[in-house]
Subunit: 148 residues, 3 copies
Amino acid sequence: MDALQTLLAIDDIRAVKARYCRLLDTKDWSGFAALFTDDAVMDVSEDTGNPPITGIPAIVAQVRFAVDDAATSHQVHTPEITLAGNDTALGVWAMQDRVVWREGLSPIPGVASITGYGQYHESYRREGGEWKIAALRLSRFHVDMHTA
Amino acid sequence: MDALQTLLAIDDIRAVKARYCRLLDTKDWSGFAALFTDDAVMDVSEDTGNPPITGIPAIVAQVRFAVDDAATSHQVHTPEITLAGNDTALGVWAMQDRVVWREGLSPIPGVASITGYGQYHESYRREGGEWKIAALRLSRFHVDMHTA
Amino acid sequence: MDALQTLLAIDDIRAVKARYCRLLDTKDWSGFAALFTDDAVMDVSEDTGNPPITGIPAIVAQVRFAVDDAATSHQVHTPEITLAGNDTALGVWAMQDRVVWREGLSPIPGVASITGYGQYHESYRREGGEWKIAALRLSRFHVDMHTA
C-alpha cells in the first residue's frame, strides 16, 4: 500500500471507532452490530470476569446487558493504528467511559454509576472495502465506582 | 475532490475544532469569534432551554455568559467528518466539558461546577480557503452537577 | 514538504503522543525514555512548583516520582500540530489525567487522587527519520483534588 492509501485506511479505521462510540451511546444496536466481522471476538473479562465471546449476536447481547439501561458516554482518544497487511490492521486506543444507570437498574450492587479508564486493544479487517472490528479487548487502568 | 484533498480538508476541520476548544478555554474571544461564519447558528437548547441563536455576536455573548467566570476544559474526541461538497462538510464529535465557576458566580442555583458528556453535531463551510463552523448543536448524554 | 509528506508527518507526531500516554500509563520507562530527544526540556512547574528540567534521565525520574505508585490514565484530545520546518514541529493538545495513588503513597498531603485538565504545549524534532518530543510544557485549567 502506498502512503496515501495508508493514510486513507487509518482515517477510515478512526471513523469506525468514532461510530462505535456514537452507535453505542445512542443505543443504535443494528448500526452497532454492523461494525463487527461475523467472527469478531470481544474480551471485556477485566470488567465482567466472563471469558471472551465470539460473534455479533453474543457481542451485542453482552453490550446491551451492560448499558441498555444507562446513559453512557464512550470516549476514544488519540490512537496508535498500524496496518498489518492490505486488509488487516491493529489499534490501541486510550478510552474513558461514563455509565450512569437508571435508578435501581445497575448490574453492580451498591453502584449507581462508573467512570472507567483504560485501553481498547483491537484488530480490524477490511471486507468488501469496509473496515470492521475483528477483535476488541478492554484493559483497565482504573474504574471509579460512584454511589450516586 | 481527490483523496489527498479530502484528507487535507478533514485535517483542517479537525484543527478548527481543536482551536474552538483552546480559544474557548483560554477565553480568547476575538479568536473564538473568527471560527464561525457570519450566519452561523448555535443550538445549545438542551443545556439552556433557549432556542438556537444566529450570528457571531450572539454566539460569543451566549458562550461568554456561560463560561467567562469559570475555569473550563472542553474536550473533543475522535470525530466523524464527512465532506458534503467541495466547500461544505458535516461532523459529529463526542465531547466532554468540565466547567468550574468562580465562587458565587455559577449561573445554576446550587451548582458549583459541572462535568458534561455529549456530542457536537456540526456543519462547516470553506470561505476564502478557510474552514469555518456554520452550525453547532450540542446534545447531551448526561451532565454531572457538583456542589463543589 | 508537499501536502502528502505534511500529512504523514502530522500523523507520525500524533502517534508519538499516543505512545507517550500508553508508555506512561503502562509504566514502560525505557519505551517512554525513547520518545524524547537527548536535550529535551520538560516544564511541569504549574503542577510541581519546580523549574523546567533538561535531559532524558531527569525527565524520566520526575515522571516516575509523580506516578510510579499510581494507577494513571492520560488522555490527549484533538491537537493542533504545525510543521515549523522539514524536521521540526509544534503542537498543542488538550489533556486530562486521572492519577490514583496506592494507599498512603500520594506525594500530595491529604490528597488520594487527582483529575487534572490542561494543555500540553510541545515541540518536536525528527532525528534519523523518527519524530521525538524536544520540549513539553504542561499548563492547567483546573485540577480536582480528591480525598478518595
